[in-house]
Amino acid sequence: MPVRVVDTSSPSQVSGTTAGNTLPPPCTLLSVGQSFSGTQNVSSLQKDEAWRVNVRIKGCDLDHGYLCGTMEALNVPMADTPVVTFWEGEIVDTKNYTFFTGKWGATAEDDIKHWTKFPSFPPLLSQVEVDGGKSLDLSNYPYIFMRWKEQYFVNVGPDCGLTIAGFYYVCFSCNDGSINGFYYDPNSSPFQKLELKSNNDEKSGFRFSTYELQ
């Protein structure tokens, strides 16, 4: 890791209404084409049981708080091939989406319970309890909160033994491009943890591709 001359962990402004943009900042490590690798714990109790996961960002529309991509699970116990799903994400940008999910079977209580599992969330908690975070200024906050909801299986049928009924609470770190998440589905094992690191790193140099739809 490069030596840091300035401590980036110093608290950033969380509240306060700065004039203009209060949306989370665009971050190159979360742009289209970026990929991430890591693991997902199958249960919160058995730490050893985890499958390897690759994620790639395929689309990003910050104006609509929209992000989408694919997730590939490699050593799934019951499948003979890697299982790929397509997911769509809601960026908690206080404009399009707040910290309250308001659907997919998640209550505000479930929301808080999951968000507080991220160490970067507590500074926001008091305001989120008031209005879901609507009045927060996230434009300089180095973490981006999202919900990822899988939409369909890309390479297997729905009878593959896996479910995509739930969704992920996700926290992305703008600092190093790492991603943490928790899977939420009332009918699945609770707090399955997703941990991913950006594949763009100093070993091979940083590269960014681009495409644009007309």
């Binding site: 896996l162 479910t163 009924a165 009918n187 699945s188 094992s189």
Partner: protein, 242 residues
């Protein structure tokens, strides 16, 4: 994504709700009907509207004289319209076309469907009169180009020309084209177009009121038993079946 967990589903039994229809007696119904006030002038207007739209000039004049109801259109224009209608009804289609063009040349120039139907009727009349050669020539020169402009017209044209293929048209599958009802259909289409061009409604109001009555009764049948009107010529209330 995740492995399936234990899914518990509660099974909720569906209890069909027992429903019963409301019963309205004849006395109640008549009382309700009597509470609705319909002005005589409005009834008269409905009658006048029917006479004018259907083109009964003499009856309209008499009715105006007797009831004092003013027609909503110049009665003189009805005569022109009726002449066109009559011409079609008696098979003089060409005459009808010329009369429409004198009344208002825009009608047929901006209404391709009506123009096609009139030309089709002309063809039918030629076939009816056994003028086979002329009919063929007419179909080719006048109607075929319309078919090229519109797929629907082409299909209708093919159906009409099929009349020529049968020795005994009374038994052919498209024989209904020779029916008097075909003439009436075309005549009423021209009638409607002329009315519209004169900013008048093309259909009289009375029939649509009757249609509404039938619809409303059908709706009501599902919810209540009440004195229905089944015979519309007498409008007699029938006792509700119990």
């Amino acid at each position: 994504m995740s492995l399936f967990g234990i899914v518990i589903r509660q099974l909720v039994g569906n209890q069909a709700m027992a429903t019963s229809k409301k019963v309205i007696t004849r006395a109640d119904w008549e009382k309700k009907l009597n509470d609705v006030k319909v002005k005589k002038e409005d009834m008269n207007k409905l009658v006048m509207n029917f006479l004018v739209t259907e083109g009964f000039v003499e009856a309209a004049e008499k009715f105006r004289f007797e009831s004092g109801t003013e027609p909503d259109i110049d009665l003189a224009t009805i005569t022109d319209r009726m002449e066109v209608k009559k011409a079609v009804q008696s098979g003089n289609v060409e005459d009808a076309i010329e009369k429409v063009n004198d009344l208002n040349p825009e009608i047929l120039d901006t209404n391709p469907q009506l123009f096609f139907h009139l030309q089709q009727q002309r063809l039918i009349e030629l076939i009816r009169n056994g003028k086979v050669e002329e009919a063929l020539e007419f179909a080719q020169e006048e109607l075929a180009p319309r078919g090229e402009e519109n797929q629907g017209f082409l299909e209708e044209l093919e159906r009409t020309v099929a009349l020529l293929a049968f020795e005994d048209v009374t038994n052919c599958p498209v024989g209904e084209l020779l029916d008097i009802s075909q003439r009436l259909k075309t005549a009423s289409e021209v009638n409607a177009a002329i009315l519209t061009s004169q900013s008048h409604e093309k259909d009289p109001k009375l029939p649509s009121l009757l249609k509404m009555l039938i619809w409303v009764q059908n709706q009501l049948d599902e919810k209540a038993t009440y004195p229905r009107i089944t015979d519309f010529s007498t409008a007699a209330l029938e006792d509700p079946a119990t």
